[in-house]
Amino acid sequence: MSTFTFETTPRVICEIDGALRLGQLCRELKAERVLLVSDPGLLRAGLLDAPLAAMRALGVQVTLYSDVQADPPVAAVLDAVEAARGCGAQAVIGLGGGSSLDTAKLVALLCGHEQTLESIYGINLAKGPRLPLIQVPTTAGTGSEVTAVAIVTTPSHEKKGVVSPLLYPDIALLDARLTVGLPAAISAMTGVDAMVHAIEAYTSVHKKNVLSDGLAVQALRLLAGNLDRVLSEPGDLSARSDMLLGSMLAGMAFANAPVAAVHALAYPLGGQFHVPHGLSNALVLVPVLNFNRSAAEPLYAQLASAVVPQQRFASAADACDGFIDFITRLVARMPFAQRLHEVGVTAQDLSRLTEDALKVERLLINNPRPLNRDDIHAIYASVL
């Protein structure tokens, strides 16, 4: 437990309207020609106008690639690489949700060093250098701005991941102004996703470490304290800032102390039923917490002080109850589906989901309590 490696993004800027400083940051990175990677929704919403204008006002030549799709297909990533080469980009900016940031990571990598995407699937196969990279998340969130992973979807609908410390950007820029327009359902799903990152990092059996722990606790405090507020007052910039920060800190934590069963059980819901990632996590979160209880009671008890700081508990068991109860109530009041049947899952699907979840062994091994086939089936069945 005292042996660990901790890697992260070396520079973080938290500033409302910080996106207007992108031009200056490009200059600092000595980039005159830049590719901005984003998605059609942000373009339509006009969120790119001000940052683009601010960059151009400083003489930075920005080319916009705004065709990022959810679960980025390989072909789209390669399109973005072409766009970067075409404009002679010297730096890449990712501005958007996890898909835009993942695409930007791969563009910076493939343009910085001649290599094919297929050759770098896996862990530490990518070669540097990459182009200078700035990541600006617009959801809170995936934490992708501080993780070393990019996921793409192959033509045969397989998910492939590139894992490399080269994928940490030079700068993560958190600008809460970019998140005020997020619909409530998206804010809720991504917010719960970020909470899951913090919880699973804190209870991870492998690679749990003091740095990740400190960041995870602070993340959970910020996320638990502000999620309701951004749903009731979407324009509250202070609460939005705290959510972005909490999401990033949770990202820093789970990038170094990996996630576990909640994610393992969520993936098949995304793969088979196209349930958004955050919602998939939210659907299985509470039953997994209850399942883990016998093994993780002391850790959940410690997390209670982050989510219900005013409350005093007589024992670790009470504090653990307090924590699980808080999360259960929070998920229950979120404006999204609460049961698997609401997203199209039927009793006949549970076996196939279970088999697929069992395949995510790389995450299941991080769970504080081991799960077998029956355990997984029972968890899915409990939220059908």
Partner: protein, 384 residues
């Protein structure tokens, strides 16, 4: 609210990590490495261990082992000249804060056209530095995660270089290197690290939530483990926790600032050659007592981390318990607590007080309670 947070991109923590420094540096592309350390590190055999590890990884090594406490400008220049003559392409700093501070400057100066004097101040460095790995042997200064180097110029004045390029590529923690630290060094450096955490948390200028989470986690680790390493210096788990706490406190203070404790400690070091950690230990308790009027709520918050097993009736009680606990830690540290016993000249107090409030103004500005020259002189007299 707007702030930046910078950190080392990679941290390794492992007992026996000294044997890995060769791979770490060659992984950064270095083939000709300068080891920067002091004569003590050589006589302990650590320099030879580092050299063996570097050579095993195929690196040619030149050793500069003449670093002295509060390193002088001329020592840094000598080291840089030796590095240029050997055509080094990577630097390993191994030792206490002085060796690490010197190593940072060497890495920056080798390929630079700037002189050391050109770098004094904030953000004056123009070029890129060489690959740089820092390995602390005290817990500590936190220098392995800061972008600050402090040196003593020809006029015996402290000069500070603040430059983001001073952050290393990798910080490596090996608790085995700290097992033999004498109790007085353990106490002084351990209290120094606690001061970093406390002053970061109460900083009036750049306090931020990321630094807060690291400072609180650091304080918990340091407070719990300092008595253990003083009782048994060979307690590897406690030594590991001290190094981790020191590193996290370093990350916190470099992003949030230190304050009056450091300001009052500087003249004691520069004029009377009291080691930095001991100088901090001398002034920390009276300054925390002085600050209580303005920082009560923050000290009460910190009490939860320093005294996790206690429950407090109210904020005032918690804050008072925090101050008492700090006073007890200093008292039990085994360090001399009176200036008169340390060859400090009483006549120097007025001019030291002037230096603190004029010359080191930026640190006083970060203190939770403002300080006049009279306040400073009274604090010095109180511990004379």
């Amino acid at each position: 609210m707007s702030y930046e947070f910078r950190s080392v991109p990679r941290i390794l923590c492992e007992a026996g990590a000294l044997q890995q420094v060769g791979q770490v540096l060659s992984g950064l592309g270095a083939q000709r490495v300068m080891l920067v350390c002091d004569p003590g590190i050589v006589s302990l055999g650590f320099a030879a261990g580092a050299q063996r590890a570097l050579q095993a990884a195929g690196c040619a090594v030149t050793v500069f082992d003449q670093v002295v406490p509060d390193p002088s400008a001329s020592v840094v220049k000598q080291a840089a000249a030796q590095a240029r003559a050997f055509k080094v392409d990577g630097v390993l700093g191994l030792g206490g804060g002085s060796s690490l501070d010197a190593a940072k400057l060497v890495a920056l100066l080798v390929n630079s056209e700037q002189s050391l004097e050109d770098l004094y101040g904030t953000d004056k460095a123009l070029g890129q530095r060489l690959p740089l790995v820092l390995m602390p042997t005290t817990a500590g200064t936190g220098s392995e995660v800061t972008w600050v180097s402090v040196i003593t110029d020809e006029q015996q004045c402290k000069q500070v270089v603040y430059s983001p390029q001073l952050l290393p590529d990798v910080a490596v923690l090996d608790p085995e290197l700290t097992l033999g630290l004498p109790p007085k060094v353990t106490a002084a450096t351990g209290l120094d690290a606690m001061v970093h955490a406390i002053e970061a948390y109460t900083s009036r200028t750049r306090k931020n939530p990321i630094a807060d989470s690291l400072a609180t986690a650091a304080l918990a680790l340091l407070g719990r483990n300092l008595p253990k390493v003083l009782a048994d210096g060979r307690d590897v788990a406690a030594r590991t926790a001290m190094l981790q706490g020191s590193l996290m406190a370093g990350m916190a203070f470099v992003n949030a600032s230190v304050a009056a404790i450091h300001a009052l400690a500087y003249p004691l070091g520069a004029r009377f050659h009291i080691p930095h950690g001991h100088a901090n230990a001398l002034v920390m308790a009276p300054i925390i007592r002085f600050n209580l009027a303005e920082a009560q709520h923050q000290y009460a918050e910190l009490a939860a981390y320093l005294l996790p097993d206690q429950l407090f009736a109210d904020q005032a009680t918690a804050a008072e318990a925090f101050v008492l606990a700090i006073e007890a830690l200093v008292r039990d540290s085994g360090l001399e607590t009176r200036l008169s016993k340390l060859q400090v000249d009483e006549q120097a107090i007025p001019s030291m007080a002037t230096e603190v409030v004029v010359g080191i103004r930026r640190l006083i500005d970060s203190n939770p309670r403002d300080m006049t020259e009279q306040d400073v002189a009274a604090i010095y007299r109180g511990i004379f």
